[in-house]
Subunit: 220 residues, 2 copies
């Protein structure tokens, strides 16, 4: 079930067309809530704060959303789907064209650079992880709309280039995405870059080596 469909239902004579055309005011509330929730976490964000950020009174906010939990779910789900487009469509017009090693380098490099420079994405990861117990369905929105399509795209690419030495494309996609995300989590989200410094290119190089041409020398 899509969370954004459970907007508050008014009891008195709902007009036809209400559902397909959310008001501009509801949009402003969601936009403000998105910013505030991401910046200060669910618990530390008061409804007064959201109302003020939206330029409305708290009562008005409550006339559009049933309660705090629904507003949070709606806002974060919206962000997840918008952000997914950014992650999924890397910069550059034809990111998936070219020689496989070049493509993989471009994809990984773009992701790491984009993630490191996007504080909102770091806050989003914090929210997702931190609230995944209280809002399990929201965590699954992340899995379904971000992780799953990205994994499928990578796995599909690996599988469609049979010349690559990849025995299990789906598992290899997990390795590639997992390495990137955990690198981002350690360096940026967990503030580890001063404690565990590492140039992005070293990770990129080692990941590209996953699809390296087999060596000709024998050893062991």
């Amino acid at each position: 079930m899509v969370l954004s469909t459970i907007y508050k239902r008014k009891m008195d004579k709902p007009q036809a067309g209400d559902r397909q055309q959310p008001s501009a005011k509801a949009e402003a509330i969601v936009a403000a809530a998105m910013r505030e929730f991401l910046a200060h976490s669910y618990a530390a964000t008061s409804m007064d704060r959201v109302a003020k950020a939206a330029g409305l009174s708290k009562a008005t906010v409550y006339s559009y959303f049933e309660n705090k939990e629904e507003l949070f779910s709606t806002s974060i789900e919206r962000f997840a789907k918008e952000k997914y487009a950014a992650v999924f469509n890397p910069t550059g017009d034809r990111p998936w064209e070219g020689e496989p090693r070049v493509v993989l380098r471009r994809i990984v490099s773009n992701f790491l650079e984009m993630a490191a420079g996007d504080p909102q994405l770091q806050d989003f990861m914090r929210s997702m992880m931190g609230e995944s117990k209280r809002f399990p369905i929201l965590a699954q929105v992340y899995v379904r709309y971000i992780a799953k399509p990205v994994l499928e795209t990578i796995a599909g690419y690996l599988a469609s280039h049979r010349s690559l030495p990849i025995a299990d494309p789906e598992a290899t996609a997990r390795i590639i995405l997992g390495s990137m995300v955990y690198f981002h989590l350690l360096q940026e989200v967990m503030h580890g870059k001063d404690i565990l410094p590492m140039e992005r290119d070293r990770l990129v190089n080692s990941l590209v080596d996953l699809v390296r041409a087999p060596l000709r020398t024998s050893f062991k």
Copy 2:
């Protein structure tokens, strides 16, 4: 600076020996706080709840710890250091002995199995990530006391077996640990195992392939 050294200082005549020998009551408070904070997150855990779980009054808790933030930091830091021992010393008496592919398989397999069966570890990851903005120093405790030694151990192992086809042991250690942790985050923490099912062994096999002997067949 180690957080656990900033226990509340009494203003009246501090006795020598107080710092090296925390009272049994302080230990009980930390133990109770650890359970409650991990189970319900920082914001959702009240000091009343901690006090009740410790079998003491709230005023007594405040006589041992300056405030909620200090108690949280102390408790989570304690958990991080205790848990580190469990992650770092996998079950089995000699986990690092044997043929490299066998060793790697054992290490990865043990980690994934242990992580999936430990709800407290999942809660710990949620807390670390979720509170990494409000408590950046605590996130760095995770980096310093868990991620760093694990990465160094893996990298050291890879580096000391020069026959392995590993160009950059430190970056490869990031790939191995990142793949394991993100797998755990997706499947368990983010409740993704029903949406993105995958047998652990498929990830294990693909990771072990990282140190595979180079193929003899040429292609492309």
